[in-house]
Symmetry: C2
Subunit: 216 residues, 2 copies
DNA sequence: CGCCCCGCATTAACCTATGACATAGGATAC
DNA sequence: GTATCCTATGTCATAGGTTAATGCGGGGCG
């Protein structure tokens, strides 16, 4: 993997920032733009591990065993802050406050990963997609990226499918169910959520009323 | 959740240490024994998030939003080291080395969670079970808990099933496939892995030779 | 301008891995 | 003895995977 100049870095959509298996000497913080963290399998399957929002720290988890455990790619134009990994330790000594908030961030990530695991492991496709969309929406909202119930979603359906361990086709069908129920309209890179509460509720409980008859 | 005395704590198998939804003011380090970290769903399903081995740090991830995101329970007699959460911040200022290794631990956890996500999301039941067993075996081995290819596994099949998002029945059937292939014998709380390399390989690649005909 | 690609969304038909249910057997505890 | 918990295995039902065909918009290029 290439080495970037320390400081601020701007990359275009589609640019790989970290590559699984490589040995990156650098760490990043996302300042603007969005991205994707994923793992590739031998047979070509892909698991999207997390979506990257502004403020996310990139590369720590990845480099545990000396080499990256996953890849990171921009899905919009992104601005990143680049560190050298070697600065990291001195950082801990000199700025314990920053070190603390970093550990804090890692804890939040892990908290989220537990949710993801639970969703993929235990919930239906409908619940899972509802969960993914409402989570994206909530994160975006917290960052002021939502304007009257609408946000930019710089992903394709395959990204969501790979994040949830579902097939593209089934994800598509599930999305159109949510659309027909007026819960989430995602077209042309824009996501509209008229009723977040209901969407989030479906994510947790599944639609009991639809349980007896076929879900779709 | 009850509050424990700061210092060393010994609990019996089956004791809950943290409870999801409660607000624990304490953190733990596992010294001896093993446990289970899990989340419960409204409908009674359970997702096992991780197995706890000696050396694991407990409670950080859980307390992000002010309340626990998952529960922790001992599956053997355990010895724990108990901290007050309030000590945590001063810890960062006074012992940057310890703080660093803590963040390191968190990163390792997250690395693992990515693997778990990938396994549950993308792999077959056979691969998943092979992955779980080989991972447990490798961790145990690293801690010297393996004696001639054998380790104590203080879990029941339902625990593994809940960790992998599989049903108990299907997990059981998959285990007997692995047993019949001489890859993993798990009976009476003891796991024997005659050929870790092959087991791990199945976890990654699935058994291609069996792919054309039904797997079982 | 029209033509051909190509990536993405959509839909339909079919198939299978896995879940749900049922039942039995072994072990342990009282 | 019997109650409880766990493992084991068979049968049947289904959520979701796989494949394939269609449509559609944008970009390069004659």
């Amino acid at each position: 993997m290439q080495r970037f100049k320390v400081g601020e870095l701007v990359v275009d959509a589609g640019t790989p920032i970290l590559m699984e298996g490589s040995n990156s000497p650098q760490l990043f913080t996302a300042l603007h733009g969005m991205g994707l963290r994923y793992k590739l399998l031998a047979d070509g399957k892909r698991q999207v591990v997390n979506m990257i929002f502004p403020g996310d720290f990139i590369g720590l988890q990845a480099g545990v065993m000396g080499e990256m455990g996953h890849s990171v790619e921009a899905t919009t134009k992104m601005t990143l802050c680049v560190f050298d990994r070697s600065e990291f330790w001195s950082f801990f000594k000199e700025r314990p406050d920053r070190a603390f908030s970093l550990t804090w961030l890692a804890a939040i990530e892990e908290h989220f990963m537990g949710d993801a695991l639970t969703t993929i492991g235990q919930r239906t496709a409908l619940q899972a997609v509802a969960w993914a969309l409402s989570r994206l929406f909530i994160r975006a909202d917290a960052l002021g990226m939502v304007t009257n119930g609408t946000m930019k979603l710089p992903y394709i359906q395959q990204d969501i499918a790979d994040a949830l361990g579902l097939s593209l086709v089934h994800t598509n069908k599930t999305l159109s169910v949510l659309r027909s129920r007026q819960l989430a309209h995602w077209t042309d890179g824009t996501l509209r959520v008229p009723d977040l509460a209901t969407l989030a509720e479906i994510a947790m409980l599944d639609d009991l009323s639809a349980r007896k008859r076929p879900i779709m």
